[in-house]
């Protein structure tokens, strides 16, 4: 009796693990099946054509460009911010100030993205509108700035982990030679932590591409290829959120599944690169990889 109960429990545990893996694969399969009608009509044209449902153009090209632009710009703004905070938390010796910064970073991980978007609509957007005196303020610039603020805490924590995992013997050697903190940072910590920094950048980019609300609320959602930093743009995630109420059988509706497929592929690529190439820098128990 006991043996049967035990083997059932063991099977249950194994089943849960398999279920979790299965769901990951199932998401991909569902996206593929549902965007198949769209792909059958000619795969390449969907990435090159523009988006104009009235004329029958269902290309998600502009959306892909929009997503890539706002994420790259967000990483561009977030990188100095997060690496400086991470360096501050590692090498500066004033423990009271460092503790305060640590607490603020931890709190900012817990802030939901809705709040960032809500506040930015009523503070940042009018500011940018008045500063440049053209456009509506909802532009690539405002989206990237807020996205940078959103992904910074994640990147800060990854960088702090990599900085801390530099060998203690190196740090001790530097201390015994009389190095100042910045010298420690520049000449030993950053070169040793190169892999971790690249991993942090990639993961930040994955998070920036996948964020829906900020791109939806702040980027203006015009489905065209932008021509200046103040143009409004539509990201893949915002496209999914906007088109969801179209007629279920139409090609317009199927385009959201194609967007989901593109997003899924992109994120899987990032995760695979981080896992396989950069595994040495991030150990199994340390970060989520």
């Amino acid at each position: 009796m006991r043996n049967i109960l035990e083997s059932i429990t063991e099977k249950f545990f194994k089943l849960s693990a398999l279920l979790s893996i299965g769901i990951t694969l199932l998401i991909f399969i569902f996206m593929l099946i549902l965007s198949l009608p769209l792909i059958k009509e000619g795969i390449l044209s969907f990435f090159i054509m523009g988006w104009n449902p009235a004329k029958g153009n269902y290309g998600i090209g502009p959306m892909i460009v929009g997503s890539l632009i706002i994420s790259t710009l967000a990483i561009f703004f977030a990188f100095p911010l997060s690496i400086s905070c991470a360096a501050f938390m590692t090498i500066i010796k004033y423990t009271r100030i460092t503790n305060i910064i640590k607490k603020i970073v931890l709190i900012s991980v817990g802030i939901p993205p809705v709040i960032y978007g809500f506040i930015a609509i009523f503070t940042l957007v009018p500011f940018i509108r008045n500063l440049f005196n053209k456009g509506s303020g909802m532009s690539i610039l405002s989206t990237s700035l807020v996205l940078a603020l959103l992904i910074s805490p994640t990147m800060i924590l990854i960088f702090v982990d990599t900085f801390k995992s530099v060998k203690k013997s190196y740090i001790l050697a530097l201390d015994s030679l009389g190095c100042s903190p910045v010298q420690k940072l520049l000449y030993i910590i950053i070169p040793c932590a190169k892999d971790g920094i690249i991993a942090g950048l990639l993961l930040g980019m994955g998070r920036a591409i996948g964020d829906t609300l900020i791109a939806l609320m702040l980027s203006g959602n015009a489905a065209h290829v932008p021509s200046s930093l103040l143009d409004s743009v539509r990201s893949l995630t915002a496209h999914i959120a906007l088109v969801k109420s179209a007629d279920v059988d139409s090609l317009q509706f199927k385009s959201i599944f194609l967007s989901g497929l593109v997003l899924y592929t992109f994120v899987t690529l990032i995760v695979c690169i981080v896992n396989i190439r950069l595994r040495k820098s991030i150990s199994v128990n340390n970060v989520y990889e």
């Binding site: 998401i27 817990g110 809705v114 995630t237």
Partner: protein
């Protein structure tokens, strides 16, 4: 020359850190100031008295009560779906899997935790489409599909925290019960799980915070702007973060905007509170929070 570069870099490190600190403080401070102007019972219950609304005698049309109830119901259902599967998978990873299985499964979980939340909402939508096509029942968007999708979203947190908590138990505790004659399952259920409960709980609290504040998933699978308190698990419902989202684009007068600020303040306090408690409970929580 080098000295100058070093001094500049030192200066920039201070500058960017102080800038980040100021920006986060501006966000929290601005929200607190604007949000606390309108905090009162009438914000939540509208024109209806508190007891009538709580006993669902009258419908609250212009307060936050339906949204708060919707969020609470969503969180409870999601946790019911996610905890058994999550803890089971975590126990399997920590106790039964060998190194190579762990590597493969870890790649899958990393992918699952990195998938954008709106793709998971699409998954819920596609579940509805497939169920309508191949089974002979008609399902529409509702509370249950939303909580299934949110459970998928939240699964990596629970699995990771269970795995980390179980692996953090020292060897002496692990082999004590086994040496007294307990079977592996008895060891897990009576010794290891209770000891790792704080870690598991911190993962659960983190996932509750994530459920309560996620908009992308529920936007596609059942949250609407005005639905009142849901009467069954197949109904549409309202949710607090969704309320904040649509108020930001469709507010008609200043009073509604102020309602939005107060709702944001409530959501912020809940999320930060949950996050801080889960940080206190679990030691490796700062690593887990990277999944966010």
């Amino acid at each position: 020359m080098n000295k100058l570069v070093e001094q500049t870099i030192y200066f920039f490190i201070w500058l960017w850190t102080i800038l980040y600190f100021i920006l986060i403080n501006i966000i929290i401070g601005y929200l607190t100031i604007k949000g606390s102007e309108q905090l009162s019972l009438s914000l939540i219950f509208g024109d209806v008295g508190a007891f009538d609304a709580l006993l669902i005698k009258k419908h609250v049309l212009d307060g936050l009560f339906p949204a708060i109830v919707g969020t609470i119901l969503l969180v409870i259902l999601t946790i019911c779906f996610a905890i058994p599967v999550g803890i089971g998978a975590g126990i399997y990873l920590a106790e039964y899997a060998d190194y190579h299985t762990k590597r493969v499964v870890n790649i899958f979980f990393d992918t699952l935790s990195a998938i954008p939340s709106i793709v998971i909402g699409l998954f819920g939508l596609s579940l509805i489409i497939f169920i309508n096509k191949y089974l002979h029942t008609r399902i529409y968007t509702g509370l249950i599909i939303s909580s299934l999708s949110l459970a998928v979203l939240v699964l990596p947190y629970i699995v990771r925290s269970t795995e980390l908590a179980l692996e953090g138990i020292p060897l002496s505790t692990r082999i004590a019960a086994l040496s007294l004659g307990a079977t592996k399952i008895q060891n897990i259920l009576y010794v290891l799980l209770p000891k790792s409960l704080p870690g598991i709980l911190s993962g659960v609290l983190l996932s509750v915070g994530r459920c309560a504040s996620d908009v992308a998933v529920i936007m596609l699978t059942g949250a609407v702007a005005n639905a009142g308190v849901p009467r069954s698990i197949f109904d549409n419902y309202e949710a607090l973060p969704f309320f904040i989202f649509y108020i930001s684009s469709e507010y008609r007068n200043n009073a509604e905007l102020m309602n939005g600020y107060s709702a944001s303040l409530i959501l912020l306090i809940i999320c930060i509170f949950l996050f801080i408690i889960s940080t206190i409970m679990g030691k490796s929580i700062s690593k887990l929070s990277l999944i966010r």
